[in-house]
């Protein structure tokens, strides 16, 4: 037991700045794997409810209202329904490949979270090739989609799979160029490879996810605003490509329901279908966290320059608690608006209980040690949540692209702009380095 206690203590020491996995701390790595898995699954469930509600309100509907107050229990009802539904494998399907495909997609979608940095000390592990690993493993999910479409031995899934492979391979190119221009920025102004380089070693970049955020911290700028507007354009390219990579509206051609029934997963039902659903949403969270890490400063709080200093640090550390208290307040407002009929008594009490839990979480977040530990996680999750809202917003706003339009955007617009931004970023970086050396000598 002694080693276990030692492991736990080694992390609770506030001076520890490395991530638990990177420190070789097996115990904390396992704890983080479980925490991240549970957190992402919970996020997917929340997204399921939020997407229906927000889309409904955008279309002036109510959305789910029946199961639980404001349909809050609808995702649970859906999950139960999917689990007990019959799992059909078509007679003409290639059974083994049909069986394996959903697991490929889920594995690819969840494995990438190994390197996602929720904070300087909150990651499962930190890899030297962090961003490369994320892009590589998330690109494996297309294999699952293609094999799913082929194994179904049916026309619509096959067309969906063909579209999906063409689309993903095309947009990966533009995505990669945008990512490279952000990685170039990590090598500028010194401080490139944190811990190894330093202010005296300019020109050393890093692919490590934690290193990329540290570089933004050291350069006092989010890469979104670096070399304005180059960072912004690279970010825009990534933001478009990531929607195409995750097969979401307006680029949801592989599962276009008005043309292909349900695209590549038409023949899937029950548990296997829910695996595709889980994978799609966790892939959305994964690419959003890549975007957050590369351009929006990862776990760093907003306005570090304009509102810097210890006082503002303290003020911003109250935001997580206040956010939860605000949610609790909203819930209690809706408790008061619930119908007064005795039929709704249990629902009203349940909603009040939910509000109380939110309020309690908010109060716990005000305790100083907790506040210091979770501030970075809160900012990271809040930024990812903003991206997830964007996904829903896109789906409520844009009509679906035609396939030739999709290809045109990918190859003729995003790719040349990405190349141009990459070259300009490299040029600007060299000029900046020369000027910096000029000043020091």
């Amino acid at each position: 037991m002694g080693w276990l206690v030692q492991y736990v203590q080694s992390y609770l020491d506030p001076r520890v700045t490395v991530s638990p996995g990177a420190a070789g701390n097996v115990f904390w790595a396992v704890v983080y794997v479980l925490l991240v898995f549970a957190g992402v699954s919970l996020g997917v469930i929340c997204m399921n409810w939020l997407e229906r509600k927000i889309l409904a309100h955008m279309q002036v509907r109510l959305g789910p209202m029946r199961v639980g107050p404001h349909g809050l229990l609808q995702p649970i009802a859906d999950a139960v329904k999917l689990l007990i539904k019959e799992d059909i494998i078509p007679a003409e399907a290639d059974a083994v490949v049909f069986w394996v495909a959903p697991f490929i997609v889920v594995l690819a979608a969840f494995t990438v979270f190994v390197v996602v940095p929720f904070g300087p000390a909150h990651a499962i592990t930190d890899m030297n090739i962090g961003i490369l690993f994320m892009l590589g493993v998330s690109s494996l999910s297309v294999l699952g989609i293609v094999t799913a479409g082929w194994a179904s031995n049916s026309h619509y899934p096959l067309i969906g799979a063909l579209r999906s492979s063409a689309q993903m391979v095309s947009y990966e190119v533009a995505m990669g160029l945008a990512v490279v221009s952000a990685i170039l920025m990590t090598s500028l102004n010194g401080f490139g490879l944190y811990g190894v380089g330093g202010p005296d070693t300019p020109g050393i970049g890093t692919l490590s996810m934690i290193g990329i955020v540290r570089a933004q911290e050291a350069q006092h700028v989010w890469f979104l605003f670096k070399f304005f507007p180059l960072g912004l354009i690279a970010f825009a390219i990534f933001a478009i490509a990531m929607v195409a990579e995750t097969n979401r509206a307006p680029f949801d051609l592989p599962e276009a329901e008005s043309e292909l029934t349900a695209g590549f997963h038409t023949e899937y039902s029950g548990f296997r279908w829910s695996l595709f659903f889980l994978a799609e949403y966790s892939a959305m969270i994964a690419v959003s966290s890549i975007a957050v890490t590369l351009w929006v400063g990862g776990w760093l709080r907003p306005f570090p320059n304009a509102l810097g200093g210890a006082t503002w640090d303290l003020v911003f550390s109250f935001v997580p608690g206040l956010a939860f208290l605000f949610l609790a307040g909203m819930t209690f407002y809706n408790v008061r608006r619930m119908p007064k009929h005795p039929f709704f008594k249990i629902q009203t009490m349940g909603l009040a209980g939910f509000g109380a839990v939110l309020g309690l979480i908010g109060l716990i977040l005000f305790i100083p040690p907790v506040r210091d530990r979770v501030g970075d996680i809160f900012w990271f999750v809040a930024k990812v949540a903003a991206f997830m809202y964007l996904y829903i917003w896109y789906r409520g706003t844009f009509p679906r692209y035609r396939f030739d339009q999709l290809m045109k955007v990918g190859w003729k617009v995003l790719l040349p702009i990405g190349l141009g931004v990459l070259i300009l970023t490299a040029g600007a970086g060299i000029v900046g380095l020369e000027m910096a050396q000029h000043v020091t000598h």
Binding site: V96, L132, M168, L207
Partner: protein
Amino acid sequence: MAPVATPFFFYLLAATMIIGGILVITRKNAVHSAMALITALLAQSGIYLMLYAPFVAGVQIILYAGGIMVLFLFVIMLISIERTLKERQFNHQWLIGIVAAAALGGLFIAVYTRGKTLFPEGRLTYAEGQNTQAVADLLYGPHTGMYMFSFEIASLLLLVAIIGAVVMAKKRI
């Protein structure tokens, strides 16, 4: 981080690769072959990771497993599987194949039995934490960049291949 259970992982990955490789050439269904090839390639990237070369492993996953194999599957899916399953399997190059396999096997046995005299003894310094930077330095570094020329040759070859593909695909330019 100190390596853990190295022999176990090596034999696991090597066995996966060999079984995958055998499946690639024995399956009649081309999609099954492609999936076995993907498994073998992923196991190979695991072996690169064990050799403290994370950058090569990452590139292996992105390029081969994520890029090239998707295009393979894309093409294979358009072929009628029923017809290929009925076709007779043929192999006109078994003689050359046996010679090549025997030569490779002989090389392996020679290295295995006399390896100590063939290679200089010494301990490697693992640059795991800066593998990417080390690769970049070897390729483009001002003092140590000795592979710049071969890198450029390789990219020129790729360009030729791209132009050739466009010329062959277009009927009228």
